[in-house]
Symmetry: C2
Subunit: 126 residues, 2 copies
DNA sequence: TTCATTATTGCAACAGAGTCGCATTAGTTA
DNA sequence: TAACTAATGCGACTCTGTTGCAATAATGAA
């Protein structure tokens, strides 16, 4: 997983992801980190953790990039065709374990499918 | 479709979409419009045309919002669970007519599925 | 433990997408 | 033709994310 010094910021970021089932944007993540953690550092850590296969990313509403821990992905064979669900009421984003059937095309080659389901989560439906 | 005065800018935007099979971002659209069309105006027209059900939008790579003409959508019953394909080489985005099977969840309600397929288009594969 | 190496960080400035308030312009209807 | 007001242009702004550079600190070797 590349060169990684065990820094306090790295631990804080990893802990934040381990502490939740949610996917987090850089902004949401920073809300959960101490204020002294620099914005650039957060973005750099997210980038690096994604490169290293620790996190995966995807786009949700409002053009915001979300990150979540990779669970059940090896570094060589990522399984990222799983869907993500975003609640249109509370904006919370979660990973859906269920795999998505990637459509094939007549032309071209499909390498990856990003599926974002939008609707209302159980909590907001009450 | 709301109040729409038939302005030159509106016609230019609609023509740009009619002239292509591609989906266009605001930026790509502006490249195809005369330079005198204001950036704010483009964004406002895209918003309005989406509200009116003339265009639909979705997110592609790099957090960029793309727009395409709605084909076969009524204003009341949009069918926007179709997929979009983006070529990772040339970045071109096209709509895939084929419908996507929207997964159901154990909890919550799914209203919409945004599916972005990424890979290489036929042209770039050669 | 100390030192040298260099990955990591903080800062500040920047870039790009998109929004907004407001005064001006120009379709539309009477 | 005139009045109404939607649409526009402008500029300033917000927000997400990036980058260059100097300072800091984790790590491995001595």
């Amino acid at each position: 997983m590349g060169v990684h010094r065990k820094t306090r910021n790295l631990e804080l970021v990893l802990d934040a992801f381990r502490d939740t089932q949610e996917a987090l944007s850089a902004h949401l993540l920073m809300d959960r980190l101490p204020a002294y953690v620099n914005r650039s550092t957060v973005y750099r850590l997210l980038d690096r953790l994604e490169d290293d296969g620790v996190l995966h990313s995807f786009l949700a509403s409002e053009n915001i990039k979300f990150y979540a821990l990779c669970r059940g992905c090896s570094q060589s064979g990522h399984v990222h065709s799983h869907a993500h669900f975003q609640c249109t009421s509370c904006s919370q984003v979660v990973c859906i374990e269920q795999q998505v059937v990637v459509p094939t095309l007549n032309q071209g080659r499909v390498d990856e499918a990003q599926v974002l389901l939008k609707g209302q989560c159980a909590t907001c439906m009450q």
